[in-house]
Amino acid sequence: MLDHFTLMVLHALLIAVFFAFLWKREKQERWRYFWKVFAALVLGAVALGWLMYPFPRP
């Protein structure tokens, strides 16, 4: 099956498309919002992963 990072990117993609179409009306602002949400989800998850790195599970 797909690896975890790919699944996370797919999830972020679906969420970003959904909210771009739910909340934004014009094409240009949809694109802008899509990239904002997509980047926030993917980069946020990677950043959170790095922050958790010093705290391994026992």
């Binding site: 099956m1 975890h4 699944l7 797919l10 999830h11 679906l14 969420i15 498309v17 959904f18």
Partner: protein, 134 residues
């Protein structure tokens, strides 16, 4: 500043409760019935893809379990998928394989698909009553 006059509610193809029920049962149907064809297609595609991926990843469509309050919330979110929930259960999908490495990912996809569909029901309501004109 002059107070904006509320826009007249659009003519509805169905009574409002039936429209909202249709929006819940089939992702995107509420928007389709209100003439928002392209948005309906996008919403339906996103929710169906999320649901199918979740089911293929061996996620679980949960039922409420006594002593586990979060299972009630998970049940509501899963039920938000509408007909997909019942069809998947009927076909034996969404049972959940806890030992599968993708179980939690599957749950995430299934739950978010349901919650997105519930948001669509609310959006359908807003369009139907004239709060949103697009």
């Amino acid at each position: 500043m002059p107070e904006s006059t509320p826009k007249p509610a659009p003519r509805l193809p169905l009574p409002l409760p039936a429209l909202m029920a249709a929006a819940w049962l089939v992702p995107g149907l509420g928007h389709l019935l209100l003439g928002r064809r392209s948005r309906a297609a996008v919403f339906a595609a996103v929710i169906v893809v999320a649901f199918v991926v979740g089911a293929l990843l061996q996620g679980e469509l949960m039922f409420p379990q006594s002593g586990d309050p979060l299972s009630y919330l998970a049940f509501i979110a899963g039920l938000g998928n509408g007909a997909l929930f019942f069809v998947a259960r009927f076909l034996g999908f969404g049972q959940g394989v806890v030992t599968s490495p993708s179980y939690e990912f599957g749950n995430t996809f299934l739950l978010t698909a349901g919650m997105m569909n519930l948001l669509l029901v609310l959006d359908t309501h807003d369009i139907a009553v004239g709060k949103k004109d697009w």
